[in-house]
Subunit: 167 residues, 2 copies
DNA sequence: TTAAACTTTCAATAATTTTTGAAAATTATA
DNA sequence: TATAATTTTCAAAAATTATTGAAAGTTTAA
């Protein structure tokens, strides 16, 4: 496999994986492109490489910046913005875990707590609702605590924490 | 909060969470409905409760069965099929982890292995592509091994494995 | 067999999400 | 301040995904 082919394959695979996990394809592909780039890229270069429009590029780069995955860089004497992504995979995983926990998991945990703590009226169906949502709540709490632990474990959490579980 | 309100909230929340993670809303809602039901339900009952069509119900129940999350039950003397979901949250998590690993993570790992093992042509950009995809490959392997471990750890893997990390 | 009960399929339609591109806004320089 | 470079916004269009419902298929029982 030649460079260009491998690069295209990587960007395409990353885009598909993103889609499968509820992430916009263009957003995932921009991140993939920056991830393997040897230097920061401009909007123009991203558009060119991925064959997407200016508006699309602008919006998705902005979202990546909101997520804390991409940083804007300015070069002296130049007007345009350069973008680069976090290059360290573990830090990247940490950021994504943090954001998905904050945006998606924690709100669900809050809802599960509310539902599982409604007052029982003694009927079977209410008991079952409370019991099942409580069980989900407990599991979600455990998983989210693990994520929190990883999130705050700045350096090398995969090796220090996960690897010992796997081995 | 009264029963009906809590139930609707749970089904709706589960549907939204599914959507966020790339799972069809109807599929997530059917699973949610079965998860808090005190008894197996028929297609008719699911349609009625969720206000969705027969075709939609049929297709999504079938998918849940493919995933191993829902089971079909037959009652003696009755023609129609009854559906129930796995009620144990940890077993449910195990099944979902197993399926997502098999369908989505393992294929990506294979691609990352292929890309990261292309022959270097000595250029910086090729070196960077190889280096970065190798790093992703290593991380994905670690995470997938953890999932595999959890997957094969039938009983109570959350408490026996994850909890000790969290505490 | 036949027919009734039930399930599946799938083309058409609807809903949602993504993308475009040009106008408006912003920013830096002359 | 004017203007050129660049980015952002957002309504419209395109693409994708989900849903419907009726016809076809299957299964069971009389």
């Amino acid at each position: 496999m030649k460079y260009q082919e491998a690069k295209d394959e990587f960007i395409s695979t990353w885009g598909s994986l993103g889609t499968l996990w509820g992430i916009n394809k263009a957003m995932a592909q921009i991140q993939a492109l920056l991830f393997i780039s040897t230097k920061p890229l401009t909007t123009e270069e991203i558009m060119q490489e991925l064959q997407i429009s200016r508006g699309n590029t602008s919006m998705n780069v902005r979202q990546l910046i909101d997520w804390g995955i991409v940083k804007k860089e300015l070069k002296v004497g130049e007007r345009k913005e350069y973008f680069s992504t976090e290059k360290d995979v573990q830090e990247l995983a940490r950021i994504i875990a943090k954001e998905r926990s904050r945006r998606e998991i924690k709100p669900v945990i809050k809802t599960l707590r509310e539902i599982s703590s409604i007052k029982s009226d003694g009927t079977e169906k209410t008991k079952e609702l409370i019991h099942q949502t409580k069980a989900l709540y407990d599991l979600a709490q455990t998983v989210d605590s693990l994520l929190d632990k990883a999130i705050h474990h700045k350096q090398n959490w995969v090796n220090s924490t996960l690897l010992k579980l796997v081995k």
